[in-house]
């Protein structure tokens, strides 16, 4: 990506700042310090989910995916009951094998499976929506291959120009091994 382009983007929405950490505790320190300084709007990038990061960033707020799960499971069990009962009542056979038209013990199995299916599918949907997947358009600064390897990062994609210097300082101060701004944040994979 050309610098000019990044500039124009930056002028429109702020400036990129990226801090790369080699150690988890240093990044957590960085997050703490940013929060204490009242600076928000950064993305934390990590090669693995760490509950420390989540606690530091989201302060114990549970993911809303759980509601999707609940709704999905309830939808599932209801549709399991409805699909079995309604279709059997649509053409009431004279008790095949002696069982009544609506035979809950047998339908319970379908209902169970539908619960699982509904719950799982809604959870998937919830995760996709909340996590914003697919997310091909994430900022170039976030698309740093080192973050999927062994580095952690704090990335501001649109830091206001007035905060930028403070952010850089804070990141550096917390132990980031590399702090870059603007176009420098775009990491070129070195030729191996």
């Amino acid at each position: 990506m050309s610098g000019a382009h990044a500039q124009s983007e930056g002028s429109h929405a702020g400036i990129r700042v990226k801090g790369v950490y080699a150690h988890l505790d240093e990044m957590l320190t960085g997050i703490d310090r940013l929060k204490k300084a009242g600076i928000n709007g950064f993305d934390v990038v990590a090669p693995l989910p760490r509950h420390e990061i989540e606690e530091a960033v989201y302060e114990g707020q549970p993911s809303p995916v759980r509601w999707w799960t609940l709704i999905g499971a309830m939808t599932g069990i209801t549709s399991g009951l409805l699909i079995t009962s309604l279709t059997h009542m649509d053409w009431p056979m004279i008790m095949p094998g002696g069982k009544p038209v609506v035979s809950l013990p047998t339908f319970a199995i379908i209902m169970f499976e539908c619960t699982i299916l509904g719950g799982a599918m809604f959870t998937l949907l919830g995760m996709i929506i909340h996590a914003g997947l697919p997310s091909f358009g994430l900022d170039k600064a976030i698309q740093d291959p080192r973050f999927s390897d062994d580095k952690f990062g704090i990335v501001f994609t649109r830091a206001s120009t007035k905060d930028a210097d403070r952010i850089v300082d804070l990141l550096r101060g917390s132990g980031a091994i590399e702090v870059t701004t603007g176009d420098d944040t775009i990491y070129e994979v070195p030729n191996v």
């Binding site: 703490d32 990590a46 693995l48 989910p49 699909i83 390897d149």
Partner: protein, 458 residues
Amino acid sequence: MSAIQPNVHPGANGDPNRPALYSSANRDILRVMLKPTVLWAFAFSLALISMVIGGYCWYYQVIWGMGYAGITHPTFWGVYIVDFVFWVGIGHAGTLISAILYLVRSRWRTGVYRAAEAMTVFAVMTAGLFPVLHLGRCWQMYYFFPYPNQRQLWMNFKSPLMWDVFAISTYLTVSSVFFVIGLIPDIAIARDHATGLVKQVYGLLALGWRGTGRQWRHFAAAYGFFAAFAAPLVLSVHSVVSWDFATANTAGWHSTIFPPYFVAGAIYSGCGMVLTLLIPMTYLFKWHDYVNNWHFESLAKMCMLTSAILTYAYSVEYFIAWYSQNPYEQAIFYWRATGEYAWAFWLMVFCNCIAPLPFYFKKVRTSPVWLFAISILINIGMWMERFNIVVSSPAHDFDPATWGMYSPTWVEWGITLGSFGWFSFWFPLFCKTLPAIAITEIKEMIAPPMKGGGEKHA
């Protein structure tokens, strides 16, 4: 072959198997991808040939009739159902390891779960074929699905086969989703290590995963729910499969012990299959840091436990047959052990009750040779168990005048071979295209890089 010993990198919690660094996890695991070896190519083409043979047998059976299979009156179900239950059973270990052990935070699961889960998905995909190719009119399979049609017809949700349809399709869906979701961060890693077209493909598959805090947050939550759903599901699926038999009135099938007994058997066979697959893989891919004796021993212990459950179940069947004074039960269990199918019965008893006993010796359960050999026996034993159940009960059921024998024909063996081909087609493909060990989760097991003197976060 010596015991698989890890490099000495004491991981977090003292697990004996972790590389010291995140970066080595990436490289070790991705190393094996996309570089087919001669051995791999050989195995893959063997699978392809088996698939073609199986496909031809099925084609033959479809156009000329089920009569070219050995299933007959009175044993209307044969090797196809045996294979079906076998593969569903194989499919159990994966979800068990990935979901239940995840929920109970069993640490050894991490190294093996991805392969086990892939095995699950492929095994269920294989199992799903059998109900179809077992049908007399497989081209009418759409009758199974509840969709509004001009005939105004629906299906019978009271039939255990309908439960099967729902259970298996749910299981396949949920385990596939579980598998794919878990893969996304790892595919992202693969993307970041790849170049060119491959990078673009992985990039597409990774759905733009970058590991941002938002992504990880919802991912972790969803993953937990998936695990929570998969855990009861895995128990229910084999229970439902067992109800195919247990709700029938045929002596030898009509038994309340079937669901737990089937689930235990499924885990037993699944762990056996995981061993069968992982031991050679570990050697081929030199993954000693990730999969090693610790895992194998744990799997062997699972086998010991489930084998004991099976032995108990077998005994209880006999006890109940005697205790119930039900003459049909008594006759069928007597006949199983002494009749024409006694060889199958005793082979089953040997493989499932006796063969895993050496696992009580630590030497055996840490010896890859022994482990591999016994895991093969476990697979054979569980196939025989299903054969015993599926075939022997209808062969000698209520009316003695209809008693008959069943032996599979070349069509059935061909399709069975084809099913192994189908499974072995997917598995090597998976090993070469996707990270066969969950890199991200391995990293979770590695002590995170800490400066040490750093400021503690709140």
